[in-house]
Symmetry: C2
Subunit: 232 residues, 2 copies
């Protein structure tokens, strides 16, 4: 017998909850293929259109993945899959919210950098140094931004917490960074940024977590203070 589904909310919202429940309940494993849209719609007693809306919603959330001509699959449910939407938050936030986001980033990134100082391997450190060097040998703002992002990404990766890395990735999304830093770096902050980066690097080489934490916090804090001053 078909469960006489709860009558609350739209049928699409119900479908979303049911699919989430199937995954949370373990009847759908990561990577597994789902029934076809048509079958799923029939099972839940709704139209294919409504079911498609539910699937699309779970797709943008990073829970499902639709492959044209093949089928619908559960993602690996890794941190990266599910936290991709975090970038949307960064891109659409404004005003005081931006300061709050930078505060969160300061807290997480300083901790991650401290962890990295204790755990980073030679190979990982070499990658960090590569981006640091590349950043100092070019004047193209685009390229500098790329290496800046990669510099921090490499450090955070060395901290070993994928979830934290995924969140920070969202907080440093390209459009977010470009939006905030455009004005910031026009105020001759290039030199200061370089000093701060090499200070972080020195702490990593010295394997000094506390120095690394302070250096990273100060680095993000500079941008944070500038952003605060812009709100007038």
């Amino acid at each position: 017998m078909e469960q006489t589904a709860p009558r609350k909310g739209t049928v699409t919202a119900r479908a979303i909850e049911q699919i989430k429940a199937m995954i949370g309940g373990g009847s759908l494993e990561p990577g597994q293929r789902l029934p076809t849209e048509r079958d799923l719609a029939a099972q839940l007693g709704i139209s294919r259109s409504s079911m498609r809306e539910a699937i699309r919603a779970l797709t943008v959330l990073g829970v499902l993945e639709a492959r044209h001509g093949s089928g619908i699959y559960v993602t690996q449910l890794e941190a990266g899959d599910l936290l991709e939407t975090f970038g949307v938050v960064a891109d659409l936030s404004r005003g005081p919210r931006l300061v709050e986001l930078l505060e969160v980033r300061r807290i997480l990134e300083s901790t991650a950098t401290a962890l990295a100082a204790a755990r980073i391997t030679r190979a990982q450190l070499a990658e960090v140094e590569e981006h640091l060097a590349a950043m100092e040998t070019t004047d193209d703002p685009e390229e500098i931004l790329s290496h800046d992002l990669a510099f921090h990404r490499a450090i955070v990766a060395a901290a070993g917490n994928e979830t934290m890395a995924a969140i920070l990735e969202g907080l440093s999304s390209r459009t977010f960074r470009a939006r905030v830093w455009r004005g910031y770096q026009e105020e001759g902050a290039f030199e200061r940024t370089r000093r701060e980066h090499s200070r972080i690097h020195r702490a990593l080489v010295a394997r000094d977590p506390e120095a690394a934490r302070v250096a990273a916090a100060a680095h993000v804090g500079e941008v944070e203070d500038w952003m605060r001053s812009q709100l007038d």
Copy 2:
């Protein structure tokens, strides 16, 4: 002239990006009403079905809000609106990912509690104490869980960073908490939890940020350690 839209990806994905761009670009303000689904579909040259999928996706992300019979509106784009999806991450993560989530929570919550110790008002402190007392005068696990959540929520609110509060709210979603703590509290951790809570409370009363940070970190850390030991 209609912009000959880029030919990449599905039409729905394109529509999602275009609407996001309209909001990010400022041509759509928070709270503003959008054109009707039919008009939007016509503007972008796609069918109403595809447009509905795009709208549904943005609705789930907390960017748009659809009111039956009235219209589609941009949300206030507050932290709470956009970070509601963070709960999904917590609910669907498993294994090592759960430990990582608790690690993130430990970092953020300890900092938030430290901030609260410096900023909390008398009224806010009274609310914290209310939940603390209620937690000690009942044996109903459901009720204890409720007041536990409210206890931490009140503290985090006193820290004054809505974005951080919204993230922690997701990391403490009811289903997540219930899932993790079911086993944890069956091991006689009630007493320890009480001591940890009152230790946090004392630090707040003393307005001692460092003591508050340590107490909160230890509190979450206990659960974190237990979770780690469960992965064998």
